[in-house]
Symmetry: C2
Subunit: 471 residues, 2 copies
């Protein structure tokens, strides 16, 4: 591909140089999505393993010269590479092959693991997050090789199997395979854009702390007639605790919660405000209701402000009909999205202290941090980021916005920190992809354009050379 003119964008890259790979991309992705690689559910452990083998085999058939399943103490990752010439730049692609659970499954229009192609989209768990991105990269490899016989640089992929379950063993995997993973640049493909006609590169990610709590107020469930009115109801205690986490302005009431938050400068805020973003449409597209911290825009609330959300809650009778019970216990899952420079241990400490302080005497509280990952900030003036932006512009026909994403990708912090790699966060997801929710889908045109864009990115990186890619 070296020396080729840049591909052009247009209708989903239909006239792109790699358009012959579009149908194979959809077919491969469909077959892969049929493997329900839900990493949080032990019953799907064999499926995650099968997903890894599928990816390994597909990487080899796509032209990677080495592909291996790397076992971990949890779910396996896949490593693949094609080394053309050690003198050329080396890119390490990061992604994951595990997927989110599918609950509530009754809200899907089709079976989550029977991909459904309709209206230029592919519906199914993992289509956007993140199998689609990995197939996009491998089809780009196949297409470049079919045309040129070789890649313009060296390519490596590390595709983990535990991203949706906290990437528990990723740090260890990186520590054990430093040599294999050595590269000049890391390209992380697990993010999104603002709209089909508004490309973006992500330059910041929020971190995450995720807790599970349980309050207990009796040894056993109690009859609401016999005990009702005379004992503390743990569901009422839980409701009080949860309702007390925010004030009427949507601000988190936990003392110390904002202590480490770096407030944006007026200039940073105006830069963020300049990003093309339909605030009302973003909310309306999913039928949601505007909410959040007073004094901030929707874009700020979801990217540069920290949150404290209730991700789940339960207690008492949830079945059909009327069970007159006061439960013994009630629980919830809470999570915070962390922004620079909040750290999970400190936030965990203040949240736990707040909850314990609000607990009525005699009620017991279990509080457990079950998952965390740090925030990420990428320098926008790094040569790799600027070349990636050129590649994106060449396909979409307009320069990408630099955005900060609300979500978390903990391994990015590992790759940036442990391997000292500059990270380019290039993904083609869209706000309406419903990742982590029923009816996840990917817009196929985004994957097709993405395929063209990474081919161009590799060309530009190769042109810059190893020295040109370092700051």
């Amino acid at each position: 591909m070296r020396g080729c003119p840049p591909v052009t964008g247009g209708e989903g890259g239909r006239e792109g140089r790699l358009s012959g790979r579009q149908r194979p991309l959809v077919d491969t992705l469909s077959r892969w999505v049929e493997i329900p690689s839900v990493s949080t559910d032990p019953e799907h452990a064999q499926d995650v393993a099968a997903s890894a083998r599928f990816l390994r085999d597909h990487a080899l058939s796509s032209g990677m010269t080495r592909a291996e399943v790397w076992e971990t103490a949890g779910h396996p990752a896949v490593f693949a590479e094609r080394i053309e010439d050690p003198a050329l730049p080396t890119v390490l692609i990061y992604g994951h092959h595990d997927v989110q659970p599918v609950d509530p499954v009754e809200e899907w229009d089709a079976a989550p693991f029977v991909p459904l192609e309709r209206d230029g989209q592919l519906l199914g768990r993992g289509t956007a997050d993140d199998k689609g991105h990995m197939v996009m990269h491998l089809e780009a490899v196949r297409g470049i090789l079919d045309a040129a016989g070789h890649l313009p640089l060296n390519l490596k992929m590390i595709v983990e199997g535990e991203e949706e379950d906290g990437s528990e063993h990723f740090d260890q995997l990186v520590a054990e395979h430093r040599g294999d993973l050595a590269a000049d640049v890391c390209v992380v493909s697990d993010t999104g854009m603002l709209a089909e006609d508004q490309p973006a590169l992500t330059v910041g990610l929020r971190g995450l702390a995720y807790w599970e709590i349980e309050v207990r107020a009796a040894q056993t469930d109690l009859h609401s007639g016999v005990y009702g009115g005379a004992v503390l109801n743990p569901l009422a205690v839980l409701a009080d605790l949860l309702a007390g986490l925010h004030d009427r302005q949507g601000r988190v009431t936990v003392v110390g919660f904002y202590d480490q938050v770096t407030e944006l400068t007026a200039e940073e805020r105006s830069q963020l405000a300049a990003v093309p973003f339909d605030e009302a449409g973003f909310i309306a597209d999913v039928g949601a209701v505007q909410g959040g911290e007073a004094g901030y825009t929707t874009m700020e609330r979801r990217t540069v402000r920290p949150t404290l959300e209730i991700c789940g809650a339960w207690g008492g009778y949830q079945g059909e009909g009327a069970k007159t019970v006061i439960p013994a216990r009630a629980g919830a899952k809470l999570s915070s999205r962390l922004v620079p420079h909040q750290l999970a241990p400190q936030v965990t400490e203040v949240v736990e202290r707040h909850l314990r302080g609000a607990l009525p005497p005699g009620v017991e509280l279990d509080f457990r941090l079950i998952h965390d990952g740090p925030f990420v900030l990428t320098p926008t003036d790094h040569p790799a980021v600027r070349l990636a932006a050129r590649a994106v512009e060449s396909v979409w026909g307009r320069p990408p916005a630099y955005i900060r994403e609300g979500g978390s990708i903990p391994p990015v912090a590992t790759l940036a920190g442990e391997l000292q790699l500059p990270c380019v966060l290039f993904g083609v997801g869209l706000p309406g992809d419903r990742i982590h929710a029923p009816n996840e889908r990917v817009v196929l045109g985004q994957l097709f354009r993405g395929m063209e864009a990474v081919a161009e990115m590799w060309r530009l990186f190769a042109e810059a050379g190893r020295s040109g890619l370092s700051r």
Copy 2:
């Protein structure tokens, strides 16, 4: 039995005249408990039907001369009778053969439908509520007949199959069988006592209104990274709604909630305070935490004050691990115990109005009344109540306390209202029986004494004659 000296109490009635029926009582109850007659669960419909047939057959073998399964549009009831002489008083016994669900089943010490006898107790769903009471009555019949060849009065039993599911078709059943159900006195055996050494007769029951609510704030579940901070989280909305139902004094904040409540006079309060009742022990026995409305005793809170309790709540991710989701919806089951002279329709109206008034704009609320039943008050100066008290005293060795129960038995209102029957609420349950909770049990000594007490009650009722039983 007429003319026999009253039986004496002591160790669980071991030396009672019916002590030969103790082992058959335990054996029959155990076999009946093995039939999982959970009326709220459609999957158990056949079991409820089997339970009805079991009871019909056992009533006949116990000496009742007529026993029939009465079908309803829901679960079947059982009617049984033994008419000795139309000139004698007729007692109608009320109870139920359906049972509560067993969730959370993992908190049981043994399988809920495999009765376990230990330490003088029988563990299993329905042992106390209410199969134990029905077997107690039938073994008393068998015992009296074995000794005397006839009953001292006419006995009828109506045992419904939908008490735990709202007694939906009981009113219709009563309307259709007025003639069959005609009696002089109704004895309801679905209540309890204060302690093994403190017998009681119940003279008041709280009513019930039970609602299911759901709040919806989006069309679909949302990723907490992408949307977190910018949209209303229905779990947070629900927590606010639930937390707002009570003030810091434990008083229900719903405007109008207390409008119909008749406050007790100072004399009524001091009578209630005189009932032997271990307030601290009552709470401590189940490892619960004192709670409720300021300014009232535990006994008052659980019997003469109304409540608004959360019986269940749900939303978002409840599985293993960390799913970073903002759910589209969240729900709860709420119930009120109603006291004289609160009525379910009025309370339903003010609760719904309160919740809708507290709802943030744009959030949808479903609010449904799914079950209700009126409060009951029985006159303590009725001859039937006073004779029942004598029978209880003859067995337990001390007079029963007159108590008001916190629970609801909607059919009692039907029997008292539609059939104009004086109702004696005689049951032998204990506060620690954990009805509606895991590890339901019955204290067998209570059933044995109860058997002796009802035999004595029939003797006293017969002695009084039909005219002596009316006021």
